[in-house]
Each structure stands twice: as C-alpha cells, then as structure tokens.
C-alpha cells in the first residue's frame, strides 16, 4: 500500500503528509464486507454483547434498511456510498489497555506521528485513544477516577455500568432519527462513555484521539456523556485520518446529557482525508439551568454532514454551537446546528464560520425551533462565509422557526471574499501565497477561536496552515 511508503519517506519534516499513513493490517477480528444479520451476530459474539444490545442492534439494522437516504437535508453525493463495500467491524482483539506499557508500539507511534508533545504524552494518563474499533488505550487519570468519574470505552460502559448507560443510551438520539444514526446503532463499536457525578468539576479536559487505519473500513463510534447535577466537564475529541484510495465511511453518534445546573463542553477537531464520508449525529439534552456547548471544527473529508444540536428541555437551559468548516478543493462541508427550545427562558447561540477554497463547497444549515407556548426564549445566529477564489460556493439555509411573542431571535449572515488583490498585497510583503491565504483564513476565524481553549486553538491554527499550504500548486 502506498501509505506505507509514505511512512518510509525520509523527509518527515513537512507535516503536510501528516495523517497520510497506515500500519500493517493484522486484525485479529474482521467481520468481512457488507452488512447482514450475520454481521451483527458476529460483532455481538466478538464483543460479548449482552442480549439487550444484540436486540438493539438488530432492530436498528431493520430501521437502517427501511429508511431512505435523507432527502431534505442531503447531498447527491450520498448516493455514491455503496454500503455493501464496507467492513463494519474490525478489532485489534485486545481489551482496552490500562497502562502505557501495555499499549501496542504502533499505537504509540501514532501518537508520535500526530506530534503530541512529550508533556502531553505524560498527560496521556488522562487520555483515551481509540485505535480502530476498540479503544486500544484507556487510562483514567487517577485524580479523575478518585472523583468518581467514569471514563471508559462504550463497550465497557454498557457492560460495567448498565444502570446509567441504559437509562440514557439512544434516548437523546433515537435509532430512527436518521439513516445514519440507525446504521451506527446497528454496528457501533468504540467511542467513549463518561459519567461525571453530582457536583464534580473535572479540571482538565478529557481527550480522545481517533484514527481510521484500514482500507474500506468504516468507523462507528458511539459516545455517551452524562454530567450529573452541578457537575462540569470539557471533552475533546480529535482525529486525523490516513489517506486511502477508496471511500471511507465514518458515522458516529454522540449523545450528551447535562443534568440540572451542569456544564458540558464538547470539542471536536477533525482533519479527515479527502475521501472520507463523515456523517455524524450529535445532540445534547440540557436540563434546567444547564449548559451544553459544542465546539466543532471540520477540516477535510469528501462530504461532512453534521449538525450538532441541543434540546433545551429545562427552564433557563443554554445551548451553544461554535463551528468552523473548511472545504478545500473537491470537498463539501454541509454543517450547521439545531436548537430545539422546549422550556421557558432557554437561550441558544450559534456562530458558524465557513471557508470555501477552489472547488470546495460549504453549506450552512440551521434549525432553531421555539414553539408558541414558550416565553422568554432567545436565539442568536451568526453565519459568516469566506470564499477564496471564484469557483467556491457557499449556501446558507437558516431555518428559524419561532412562534409566539416574548421570544427573541436575531440572525446575521455575511459572505466575504479573499480577493486576488489581497493575496497580491500580502505576497508583496514577502508572504507566500499559501501563507497569505492561511493568514486570511486565520484572520477570519480569529475572533471565534479566541473563545476556544488555548491548546485547541493552536492545533487548529496548525491544521489551517497545513491545509492552506497544500491548497496552492
């Protein structure tokens, strides 16, 4: 495979190929290609799923088969997904690891290649990294565990903590929500399960790194996070993917629950290779006076469809989506946010920044729902698009459904361009074309990125730089 050669390339100083490699495939378990009841049984057997999970999966498979591809929020490109060509389960066959020493060498190399600094590697004690289907490394930082926080893979979560897991699993995002949530519900493996007990404020963000590592292998992580009353958590999900010649499907489901007065922040940075279909369903359920914030940055992939949402169920609940999408040549970022107001005095804020380069295409889709009987609800939506060169296109579909008086909705949208004149001006000061574009893009997202945690904004800037360098001939 060509990506192995890339790994061997001596001049690794250019980070451009980052994520552009893969390791030998020596999977102990492999469900083969295609998706039938047999595949489900195979997955259940290997994972030693409880019976209720087996039933849950099979029901989901039926729903997946019956459900058409989305026709409302959709892209033609979805028709190019051939579901029978994918592998739906693949595992190192290892149980989630507990200590650094037990982590396979190639996983360690993955971290190295991702450029995780030394001090952060020490911090890996608090990091859960997913290597293909199963968490190959999972170690809860002592302090976190001592606070009673559960931070495990979803498989361990459903087995060891069924009383919490079952209560919320599939409740925020029902299996039948859409075709891809049904698919995930049928074949999910990996992902995180986190429970933060009442009043516990987790100081350091918990993190997980994801990678795709085998040809034609789709990933179906399932993450469930519950933050109990008055508790606080920041979770960071990161992923870079190696480059493959054929299409790769990624379809995750992430469910968040914030109990009364809880605060939960979920951060994603993703840098998919340009052949990945990334069809993700993410939603949070916010109880009274709680706050759920999604920070979602999408770089790369062939098609990303992702609209993180918050159901504002309790009075004075707050929901927020801050997102950045970068669509380079040949890519389509179809992203947005959903805010479902279901109680009085709930507030939501959506800030979306999209960048389209060359033939890249960024679409914003928003849904803000405030029913008539509610009082004192507020929404603010801002969508800004940046176009770099004339081929780029951007579309904004901000559906704001608000009924009734005493609710306020504010909406702003802007489209700006990086002109050839601006690029020339910056080049005249000595910046290369790539640097000039990178600077413009960073300038465009700056104000928003300032609200992100420090280490995260640095990472994002680095990814934007790499992407811009790669986009000029």
């Amino acid at each position: 495979m060509s990506e192995v050669t890339t790994l061997e390339k001596p001049d690794l100083k250019i980070d451009q190929d980052e994520g552009n490699f893969s390791y030998p495939e020596d999977y102990a378990f492999d469900a083969g290609t295609g998706l039938t009841e047999k595949t489900i049984d195979y997955i259940c057997d290997v994972k030693e799923d409880p019976d209720w999970v087996r039933e849950f999966r099979k029901k989901a498979l039926r729903i997946f088969r019956e459900k058409p591809l989305p026709t409302h929020w959709a892209s033609k490109d979805l028709e190019n997904i051939h579901f029978d060509d994918f592998r739906y389960y693949l595992s190192k066959g290892a149980k989630p690891k507990r200590t650094w020493d037990e982590v396979p060498d190639d996983v360690k190399r993955t971290f190295e290649r991702l450029g995780i600094p030394e001090k952060e590697r020490a911090f890996l004690a608090g990091v859960e990294a997913q290597f293909d289907s199963e968490a190959a490394y999972s170690n809860i930082k002592k302090a976190v565990a001592e606070q009673g926080v559960i931070f495990v893979g979803s498989r361990e979560g459903l087995k060891e903590h069924p009383e919490i897991f079952r209560k919320w699993f599939g409740k925020v995002i029902p299996t039948a929500d859409n075709k891809f949530s049904a698919l995930n519900s049928a074949v999910f493996s990996g992902g995180s399960f986190i429970y933060v007990p009442k009043g516990v404020k987790v100081k350091h963000p918990l993190q997980a790194y994801f990678r795709i590592n085998a040809e034609n292998f789709g990933q179906f992580e399932r993450t469930l996070i519950i933050v109990d009353e008055g508790a606080e958590l920041t979770y960071m999900e990161g992923c870079t993917a190696p480059k493959f010649d054929s299409v790769t499907l990624h379809s995750a489901v992430v469910e968040l629950v914030a109990m009364k007065g809880a605060k939960l922040q979920y951060i994603t940075v993703q840098n998919w290779s340009p052949n990945v279909f990334n069809l993700v369903t993410k939603r949070g359920l916010a109880h009274e006076e709680s706050e759920i914030k999604w920070i979602d940055c999408n770089i790369g992939s062939r098609l990303t469809m992702k609209y993180p949402g918050v159901i504002l169920k309790g009075r004075k609940a707050r929901g927020e989506v801050l997102s950045i999408a970068l669509a380079n040549n040949g890519q389509h970022q179809d992203t947005g946010a959903k805010m479902i107001h279901a109680a009085d005095e709930t507030t939501s804020n959506i800030i979306s920044k999209s960048i389209s380069i060359g033939s890249g295409r960024a679409t914003y889709r928003g849904l803000v729902h405030i029913p008539r009987h509610l009082k004192g609800c507020k929404n603010n939506t801002e969508c800004d698009a940046l176009l770099i060169n004339t081929e780029s296109r951007t579309d904004t579909y901000p559906a704001i459904v608000t009924r009734g008086e005493g609710n306020s909705v504010q909406h702003e949208a802007s489209v700006s361009k990086v002109s050839a004149e601006q690029i020339f001006y910056m080049q005249q000061r000595g910046l290369s074309e790539g640097q000039a574009m990178s600077l413009s893009v960073n300038g465009f997202v700056n104000e928003l990125v300032r609200q992100f945690p420090m280490e995260y904004s640095v990472e994002l800037k680095r990814l934007i730089d790499l992407e811009m360098e790669g986009s000029v001939g």
Partner: protein, 251 residues
C-alpha cells in the same frame, strides 16, 4: 549593474492593451528618484509590473535588481529579494492585526525555527511607530480595515520601515494626506533614506517633492519616460504644465 534597480525597455500590457511601451529607468542605491505623470500615464502599472502583479503581461524588456532579473519570480520572492511597493490603494485584510501581519512578513524572511524575538520585535515596531507618530493602539487593528486614507498611507510607510527593503517604490503616497500627515510621512521616508536604499517616488503633484527632495526627476507620458532632470524639473513642470512635456513626447 550591482547596486541599482534597472528597468530596461520594459513593455507590459493588461487584457491585451499595451500600457508600458519600452520604459527605461535606473535607480541607484542611495538615491531618490521621482516619477511625475498625469493620471492614466501608466505609473501604477509600472509599480505593479515590477512587483509581479499577475494581471499584467510583460511583453518585452527586463527589470534587474542588483544585476539579476526579477521577472518570472513570484511576487513574494521579489519582495524577499528586497523590493517594496507602497500601494496607491492598499488592500484591507480583515481579522489580521498589523502586529501579526508584520511579524509574519519578517518571519517569512528568516529561516524556519529562527522566528523574530517577540520583545525585540515590539521594540522595533514601537520605535518605527513613534517615528511616524502612530498611536500604539494601531498594532491591534486589522490591516487597513476601516482605515482613513491617511492611516492607510502611514501604514504603508510603517511597513517599509519595518521591512527595510533595498528598493522601495512609493505609489502616490501623498494622495489623501493633509499637510500635517504629509509632513509626518515625508519625515518618515527621509529618515529611511541612506546609502543602503534606492527609492522611487511616484506622484501626481509637485507638492510632495518639497518634502521628499529627489535626486532625479523623471516625467512619464503614455508609458514612457520622456524627460529626466534634476529636482528643478519638477518645478518647471508645475509652472509649464503637462502639456509642455506632452508636446516633448510627440515632438
């Protein structure tokens, strides 16, 4: 020639229309030259062609920086070779602060891993800002975004001061400036004058040349230099008007 910026028989067109029809000009290091010319005579075209603007096609002649041709080099390479252009209409770069922009421009001139030291950088920047009587708060404003005409021109000269080019072309830096700003900007340019820099001042009015006194004045008509002389030529021009040189051009 080493130590000069030479323009030899330069012909350039835009959208198939030839604007420069074989232009000759040599600016030795250490000298200040001025080009005067009516609107539309091709002054900005000359500046942009030298800087490598992609809209223009060079159809003949050469531009040599210290004896080496720069035609065919990307605009950023020319800039790093030491050519600076103060734009007649500087672009706005939203979201990018002057401080970050200048730092990126300086770092682009250095090898990787040897970025400018933050403390030294700000010392230098503040020094140059004081020279141009620019308020400190300026550094955190986005480049040219919402700037007045005068602020934009000051910002161009601030960048010139920071980047210390070998050759600087100032395209109508005086336009849009009131008399006080004109004096400050001229003072800034004059303090940068010296044996290490060659400067080409492009202007429409003689007024600027009272403050930035040139060593040589050239008159441009329809894409050519038609007359060159000492600084007195500018005054003569002012008195006799452009018709006088235009007659020279056709004579």
């Amino acid at each position: 020639m080493k130590n000069s910026l030479e323009i030899k028989g330069l012909k350039a067109s835009i959208n198939g229309t030839e604007i420069l029809h074989g232009l000759n000009l040599t600016i030795p290091k250490g000298e200040v030259h001025a080009i005067m010319g009516k609107n539309g005579s091709g002054k900005s075209t000359l500046a942009k062609v030298m800087a490598g603007h992609p809209d223009y096609e060079v159809t003949g002649g050469d531009v040599l920086l210290d004896g080496k041709t720069i035609l065919g080099l990307d605009p950023d390479v020319r800039a790093r070779e030491g050519l600076f252009l103060a734009f007649q209409y500087p672009s706005e770069i939203p979201g990018v602060t002057i401080a970050n922009f200048m730092r990126a421009a300086l770092n682009a001139r250095r090898p990787e891993g040897q970025e400018v030291d933050a403390v030294e950088y700000y010392n230098e920047l503040y020094k140059k800002m004081d020279l141009l009587k620019i308020d400190r708060s300026f550094t955190s404003r986005a480049v040219n975004d919402g700037f007045s005409g005068g602020e934009k021109k000051k910002n161009e000269i601030l960048q010139m001061a920071m980047l210390e080019p070998k050759y600087a072309v100032l395209d109508e830096t005086d336009s849009g400036l009131d008399i006080d700003a004109l004096k400050i900007v001229s003072h800034g340019v004059n303090s940068l004058r010296g044996p290490k820099m060659g400067i080409l001042v492009i202007t429409h009015y003689q007024r600027l040349l009272d403050y930035i006194v040139p060593d040589v004045v050239h008159v441009m008509v329809d894409g050519r230099i038609v007359k060159s002389g000492s600084k007195e030529l500018a005054l003569e021009m002012e008195k006799k008007g452009y018709d006088w040189v235009e007659n020279l051009a056709t004579a």
